[in-house]
């Protein structure tokens, strides 16, 4: 109970502080440069001043936060990647040399690529298929809600859920993991799925696909509904069958959305961390970049140089998507 009260207290301080800043700073500005009940010329001058200052009051906190938490670290990570484990001594490209000669890095890089190919493809494809099918049936919305639900579950929670499914009991004990139980039911040998080299990667990916399919489905479903009925009716009159309509009329019209879904999931995959940490912590050849980076952050007291190098690799992989995003947003804004 005491903890609850102190938590509430701490929370209100945090939120109030923020609210007080915005309210107070704006009131102060209006107080210093009043724009009411003054001669017109004074008002005109004050208005010019407040109109110059106020945007910065509005955007200032966000700017500071973004600067300190996202922009400065990009450059600092770059700097740290040329320093040693303590972040004090310059060691040139040693960290990069270490990285490209480390077998562990190539393993995680290879695994990351595997994730990048499999997860966005599978999630987008399944999402598209489910979106198309659920639009045709009366209980489609219920089905969509249920498939969308894993989106709300944390990666670590999902990991527990799936670890339970992959659970393995040796010997004659009854299998309590669903997957092994099914294998045994069909007369197969139960397996320790998570420790099976190479294939275990796919068992981890299944978790992320399970989570992300709902996201792809919701967005693609909206895009499919946005397609004008008339183009489909025209295709029907032109004699196209269902499959042709889907691939030649509907899919081309939502290419843009498919690309957005794909890249969004791709970015998520690049940062995948919790699942690997919880399921295997990178053992049995399942290491990925984000987990490796986290590992180096703390391993043996932490090696900021090597950690930073891995972070930069992740960043480099993201950059093409970033450029594409900015271009798309700019084009959109000009279209306004």
């Amino acid at each position: 109970m005491g903890q609850l009260i102190s938590a509430l207290f701490v929370m209100s301080i945090g939120v109030l502080g923020c609210a007080v800043y915005f309210y107070g700073s704006n009131l102060l500005l209006d107080f210093c440069f009043p724009t009411k009940n003054r001669p017109h010329l004074v008002i005109a001058r004050n208005l010019r001043i407040t109109n110059t200052i106020r945007p910065w009051l509005f955007i200032g906190p966000a700017l500071l936060a973004l600067g300190f938490y996202l922009i400065f670290p990009v450059f600092d990570s770059l700097r740290l990647s040329f320093l040693d484990r303590t972040g004090e001594n310059f060691i040139g490209f040693d960290n990069y040399r270490w990285l490209f000669s480390s077998a562990e890095f190539f393993e995680s890089f290879k695994n990351n690529m595997l994730w990048l190919i499999v997860v966005p493809t599978a999630a987008t494809f399944l999402g598209l298929v489910i979106a198309t099918m659920t639009d045709r049936i009366w209980w489609g919305n219920i089905a969509k809600s249920l498939i969308f639900m894993p989106m709300a579950i944390s990666f670590i929670g999902a990991s527990v859920i799936w670890k339970f499914i992959y659970d393995f009991r040796s010997g004659d004990d009854a299998q309590i993991g669903l997957l092994n139980a099914i294998v045994v039911f069909f007369g197969g040998e139960p397996q320790a799925w998570i420790t099976m080299p190479f294939w275990n990667n796919f068992f981890l990916m299944a978790i992320l696909i399970w989570i992300q399919t709902g996201f792809a489905m919701v967005i693609l479903s909206a895009a499919l509904r946005g397609i004008s009925e008339e183009t489909i009716e025209a295709a029907v009159l032109d004699g196209a069958n269902g499959v042709q309509i889907f691939f030649r009329i509907m899919v081309p019209q939502i290419w843009g959305t498919i690309a957005v879904v794909w890249t969004t999931i791709t970015i998520l995959v690049l940062k995948v961390f919790d699942i690997v940490l919880a399921m295997t912590n990178g053992q049995w050849n399942t290491q990925v970049l984000a987990n490796q980076m986290f590992d180096w952050m703390f391993r043996g007291g932490g090696d900021s140089g090597r950690g930073a190098v891995i972070a930069i690799i992740i960043m480099v992989l993201v950059i093409p998507i970033m450029v594409w995003n900015i271009r798309r947003a700019n084009a959109e804004m000009e279209g306004r």
Partner: protein
């Protein structure tokens, strides 16, 4: 959807079946977790959750408590009792007195033991053990195979919430999540309004920067921030792991999406409404408070759901910016600890996992409408 009448029925049937299959695939994992978390822990460890409703066959063992209960009957010492500790509809199938042959005797038959002792265990669990000499020393072990009826319990939850510290972590999670949801909304709403409707130099550049920052991986920030936090924590004497620290971190990491979503929404509000307010004499701050904020409610709601889910479900930032101790461990962090320390205790893990996911699930089910709207405004154009 267009489909000609004559192909409809078989195709639709296939669609129904496929969707049903997929829905089952997607819900079974969570359902399994939930069912397991309310099962008796002895049953959970020996049978799959899908058998939860059928009686399970368990091999059990009990030790007969000695001497004080023994009575003298017809010249032999006798102890009577019941092997089941909990009342219920369990029934004994077979029993034995040696671990080598736990199923040697059918229930109700008499087992002849060494030194003239006999043991009978009835199907309902009543046993009678007799001996020509007085019982002494350690009691006899009785092995039995029992058909145990399904048993559901909230004991697992009681245990994790108290002795495993989940309750404490639950409050920690709330302490992290609530301010880390409200603060970025406030900041982002102001920034988004400025970026959408106010005139100042560098505006277009900032909008582009926000779009770019949307995808900057968190990993880039971790090491520099950890170092900065250490320095700042030392300077202020508070240490580097504070709630304020993690609020601000979550705030900043949530800001790009928040600003992006809100700016899109606010820029889409009709210009004339804002101009009308201006003609009516409202200052920019009045316009923001009295016009923009109330009108942006749907966008604010969708973002707050995002941010809430994201912060509640986050593990990485909590591990880096909050301590690994009893005082500060959040639910996700606790669950990870338990995965390491109680890896085989599924009753603990399933109940803990369910506690960590129940809040987001409720939020999700209750506010799905806003969530979907937010997702769409962020992605579809």
């Amino acid at each position: 959807m267009v489909s000609s009448a004559n192909t409809r029925s078989p195709l639709t049937f296939v669609v129904h079946l496929t969707v049903l299959f997929l829905v089952v695939m997607w819900t079974i994992p969570t359902a399994g977790l939930f069912i397991s978390s309310i099962r008796d822990k002895d049953q959970l460890s020996v049978s799959g959750w899908w058998t939860a409703l059928s009686a399970s066959e368990q091999r059990l063992v009990t030790r007969i408590e000695i001497p004080k209960d023994q009575t003298m009957e017809n010249g032999v010492y006798v102890i009577r009792g019941n092997v089941f500790t909990q009342a219920g509809d369990s029934s004994v199938q077979q029993f034995g007195y040696s671990s080598l042959k736990p199923q040697a005797f059918e229930a109700g038959t008499k087992a002849q033991m060494k030194r003239g002792k006999t043991l009978i265990v009835q199907a309902n669990g009543d046993y009678v053990i007799t001996s020509p000499k007085a019982f002494k020393g350690r009691g006899q072990r009785v092995f039995y195979t029992a058909e145990v009826p399904p048993r559901f319990t909230l004991d697992n939850y009681r245990e994790v919430l108290t002795s495993e510290g989940l309750g404490k972590s639950f409050i920690n999670s709330l302490t992290v999540t609530i301010p880390a949801t409200i603060i970025p909304i406030l900041m982002a709403a102001f920034a988004a309004y400025a970026l959408a409707w106010m005139k100042f130099p560098g505006r277009a550049l900032m909008v582009a920067a926000v779009v770019g920052l949307l995808v900057v991986p968190l990993q880039m920030s971790l090491i520099p921030l950890l170092r900065s936090y250490n320095v700042i924590g030392e300077f202020l004497g508070t240490g580097s792991k504070t709630y304020v620290g993690i609020w601000l971190a979550h705030t900043a990491f949530g800001l790009p999406l928040a600003i992006y979503l809100l700016r899109n929404y606010i820029a889409g509000l009709p210009r004339e409404i804002i101009e009308s307010a201006r003609v009516d004499g409202a200052s920019e701050f009045d316009i923001f408070r009295k016009i923009i904020l109330p009108l942006s409610f749907p966008a604010l709601a969708s973002f707050s759901i995002f941010q809430f889910l994201w912060v509640w479900n986050d593990l990485l930032i909590a591990m880096v910016f909050l301590g690994n101790n009893e005082e500060q461990l959040v639910l996700t962090g606790r669950l990870r600890e338990l995965l390491g320390s109680r890896g085989g205790n599924w009753e603990i893990l399933t109940a803990s996992a369910f506690i960590t996911i129940i809040v987001p699930l409720c939020v999700f089910i209750g506010l799905q409408r806003f969530l979907v709207r937010g997702l769409l405004s962020g992605s579809v154009k």
